[in-house]
């Protein structure tokens, strides 16, 4: 098993970056902890505090990063004062917060901490096999972060402010990554890769709070953490797609939902001042989450709808309740059938059925106990699955972006783990209760099972992960090879700054309508502009370069060069080679080629 050596090797290479990110996470965690501790005092256990505080780490981290950006850009003394104020505030909080917490086995918080430390090493193994962040999304994120970092250094006019990207774009992850890269003085690509993995370390721990608080079962809470981390290959697999903003929003979503849950629980208990504090944290959480990934706002809408729907459902007569329950289950089945019948949605259930059927089957089994023991949380979970899948078909028109749907397939695919793992945790807690209640009737053997059901469930998830889970990058999405990096460096040093480079593209279709959503790069061409600052423009990867009309297009568009990457969706270099009078080879590597357009003169 090379995972540990690989993880440690990355730690050795990037120890400064990893330590810097961990310091940011821990400081942010402490800030969140202090704020919620002031409100809830000894009402939560140490494990719950640990989970809730770490799930909200992006909130102060985003705020600090924003301050860094504004301070660096505007250089106004006000922001320096704000940073100093925050530090003073943290110190004051440390002395003010009440020390006690709800009684709880100390091993739980330490267990979460141990899991955190081990996960850091395990997740870093991914970086050992990554040259550069994956897929074309990462190129866009890189460019945005680069604009942020360069924007802060380039600005010389005091008081001026310029949004670093054209049009709206959620900048939460980019700000934090830019701050990390700038503060640690590391390459942006390294900051993206390592920060992405640290986000994967934190996200599963965020799931502990709500389960533990609702069920009182530490083992159910830890089971959910294990499911979120290693139950299915999602959400962690999304780093292969470069879905960093979406991944960064997952912990924040759970943080905001947990705070919302606490606010509902404490509405008749908390003082007005404390209630205001809870709502302020909740608002900040939702805002930061939307700022990190816009579509997380849809998730909040779905969660709210599921909660309200479940509250209404619970007050119905039993017969109608059962009818509606089966109606929702039927709806989910129909949605699954409909989704499976559409090519564009084909892979949505891959993580949960094709590769994760054992875990999903276990969850289905546990869901029975979840529904019996905690219907007020299990039913919203089931309802939210129905709404998540349904949101793929709800059309929305966003000005400037055309016809879309509420959620797209990749996001639903990566977030479906959340209601499933919550159902699993609730189910385990229900099963534990069931077995313990049976003690009186069935003797000590069953009591023992009740006590150890959690350990057994966690063990099964880990055994499954040992055989199934891949901590390394997938081959699917590595569009940049070592040859591509050399080719791009060569271009940077040898091509004129005003070169206009043709890159291969493919159509993007991820919505139910199957409608065309734009062109995305099919190979390393996606990285040319971010890395070399040369202009690029796309042409379908299957264009026939032996045809006069394609040359005419290139001439009309003033294309000066053509980039051929090494992926399946790259231009066909053999066609270019057949027309040396039109296209001259400048650099030929096994997985990257550069041609000059010479046929236009």
């Amino acid at each position: 098993m090379n995972v540990l050596p690989d993880g440690l090797s990355v730690l050795a290479d990037h120890w400064r970056l990893v330590s810097g990110i961990l310091v940011i996470v821990l400081l942010s965690q402490f800030l969140v902890y202090s704020a919620i501790k002031l409100i809830f005092g000894s009402g939560l256990t140490s494990g719950e505090y640990y989970s809730l505080a770490i799930s909200g780490w992006m909130l102060p981290a985003s705020f600090l990063s924003l301050l860094w950006f504004l301070w660096e850009t505007i250089r106004a003394p006000l922001f320096f004062t704000l940073v100093i104020s925050i530090i003073v505030f943290v110190v004051m909080l440390f002395f003010r917060i009440e020390k006690g917490v709800a009684p709880d086995p100390k091993a739980v918080a330490l267990g979460l901490l141990f899991l955190f430390c081990i996960s850091v090493i395990l997740r870093l193994a991914f970086v050992s096999k990554a040259l550069i962040p994956f897929y074309f999304d990462s190129a866009q994120h890189y460019l945005t972060i680069k604009n942020l970092v360069e924007g802060t250094g380039a600005s010389s006019v005091a008081g001026s402010f310029k949004w670093p990207v054209a049009g709206y774009y959620h900048l939460g992850f980019h700000l934090v990554a830019g701050f990390v890269a700038s503060a640690m003085r590391v390459e942006i690509t390294d900051a993206m890769l390592v920060l992405g993995q640290m986000i994967l370390v934190v996200t599963p721990i965020s799931s502990f709070f709500i389960l533990r608080h609702e069920t009182g079962s530490n083992s159910a809470g830890l089971f959910v953490v294990m499911l979120s981390a290693f139950g299915w290959y999602m959400p962690a697999y999304a780093v292969n797609w470069g879905k960093y903003p979406a991944l960064a929003s997952l912990a924040l979503i759970q943080f905001a939902l947990s705070i919302a849950y606490l606010s509902l629980q404490g509405r008749n208990i908390l003082s007005l001042r404390k209630s205001c504090g809870v709502y302020a944290i909740l608002g900040a959480g939702i805002l930061t989450s939307g700022f990190t990934h816009s579509r997380s706002l849809v998730i909040f809408g779905i969660a709210a709808l599921a909660w309200v729907g479940a509250s209404w459902w619970q007050n119905l007569p039993r017969r109608i309740r059962v009818f509606i329950f089966y109606l929702i289950i039927t709806g989910i089945i129909l949605e699954i059938v409909l989704i499976q019948s559409q090519d564009v949605f084909g892979p949505l259930f891959d993580p949960y059925i094709q590769k994760g059927y054992l875990v999903t089957a276990g969850i289905l089994f546990l869901s029975i106990f979840a529904q019996r023991a905690c219907p007020h949380l299990a039913f919203p979970g089931i309802l939210s699955i129905f709404l998540l899948l349904g949101s793929l078909f709800v059309p929305v028109v966003v000005p400037g972006y055309g016809n879309l749907t509420l959620l797209d397939r990749p996001f639903v695919e990566m977030i479906l783990y959340l209601p499933l793992s919550l159902l699993g945790g609730l189910g385990l807690a229900g099963l534990e209760q069931k077995l313990q209640h049976a003690q009186g009737k069935l003797g000590n053997l069953h009591f023992m099972w009740g006590k150890h059901a959690g350990l057994l469930a966690i063990g099964l998830v880990l055994i499954n992960a040992y055989f199934q889970y891949n901590l390394y990058p997938s081959d699917c999405c590595a569009i940049v090879s070592a040859d591509d990096l050399v080719a791009m460096d060569w271009m940077d040093k040898n091509l004129p700054p005003d070169a206009r480079i043709l890159i291969a593209s493919t159509e993007l279709r991820v919505l139910a309508t199957g409608s065309f959503q734009g062109y995305v790069s099919g190979d390393a061409g996606a990285w040319i502009t971010p890395l070399t600052d040369r202009a690029t423009f796309p042409l379908p990867y299957d264009s026939d370069f032996t045809q006069q009309n394609i040359l005419d297009v290139l001439c009309t568009m003033d294309a000066t060069h053509i980039y051929v990457g090494g992926t399946f969706e790259a231009f066909d270099a053999s066609q270019l080679k057949t027309r040396p009078d039109w296209y001259g080879s400048l650099l030929s590597m096994p997985k990257a080629e550069i041609y000059q357009v010479v046929g236009c003169n």
């Binding site: 290479d13 917490v101 999304d137 709206y168 979406a246 816009s294 996606a526 001259g584 650099l587």
Partner: protein, 206 residues
């Protein structure tokens, strides 16, 4: 008898100490590892074996050989990391003992990726490769093997760096390919992604 609060405080202290210890251990470990992995220029350590890169190859390793339009050979090398010293590559023909020096440069922004440019070598010829520290000429890695593949360009074209790229008049010809996704970018740019994310891939999980 300890009060509940004292017990809780002690637990918090333990947890805090554990976090701190874990962090310190991580940092110290990283420091020690990075120091021990760093080949010192004047340090007599075992020379690494140089070979083609594979999934489990020890770095440095050779990714590929290729040619540019001037007929120079580019040797693409992966190194262990930023701590690997600057170096040049020496290739010796075993039969004739002729030596060629290749100047190497790191890819900007990617410390593990280095390429060396120099004289073209023949495919299949028995060659000795030596990676040598630029600082004190100490040998960092060596290997003996033949070049098994060399990407070849069409040779006639020289690169223009004057900025006078061939261009066509905007009025030249008609746009015959319809529909095409040609979206010229007036300034350096990336194809604009869809809202609110530049979505994701067709292949899901191979």
């Amino acid at each position: 008898m300890e009060s509940n609060e004292e017990l809780v405080n002690r637990n918090r202290l333990i947890a805090g100490a554990a976090i701190l210890t874990a962090l310190v251990v991580l940092v110290i470990f990283g420091l020690i590892r990075s120091k021990s992995r760093q080949p010192q220029a004047n340090q007599r350590s075992p020379v690494s074996q140089l070979a083609y890169c594979s999934s489990n190859a020890v770095r440095p390793c050779i990714v590929s050989f290729s040619l540019d339009s001037d007929g120079n050979m580019l040797v693409n090398i992966l190194t262990p990391g930023a701590s690997f010293p600057d170096f040049y590559l020496k290739i010796t023909r075993i039969e004739s003992s002729d030596e060629s020096i290749y100047e190497c440069q790191k890819v900007k922004g990617f410390s593990t990726s280095v390429y060396c440019i120099g004289e073209k070598m023949s495919i299949g010829e028995d060659l000795q490769f030596m990676i040598i520290s630029r600082k004190d000429d100490s040998l960092l890695a060596e290997g003996r093997f033949a070049i098994i593949g060399l990407a070849l360009p069409t040779p006639e074209f020289a690169i223009s760096t004057s900025g006078t790229e061939p261009g066509a008049s905007p009025t030249q010809g008609i746009f015959p390919v319809t529909p095409t996704p040609v979206q010229a970018t007036p300034s350096p740019s990336y194809p604009n992604p869809g809202y609110p994310n530049p979505s994701y891939p067709k292949p899901s999980y191979p």
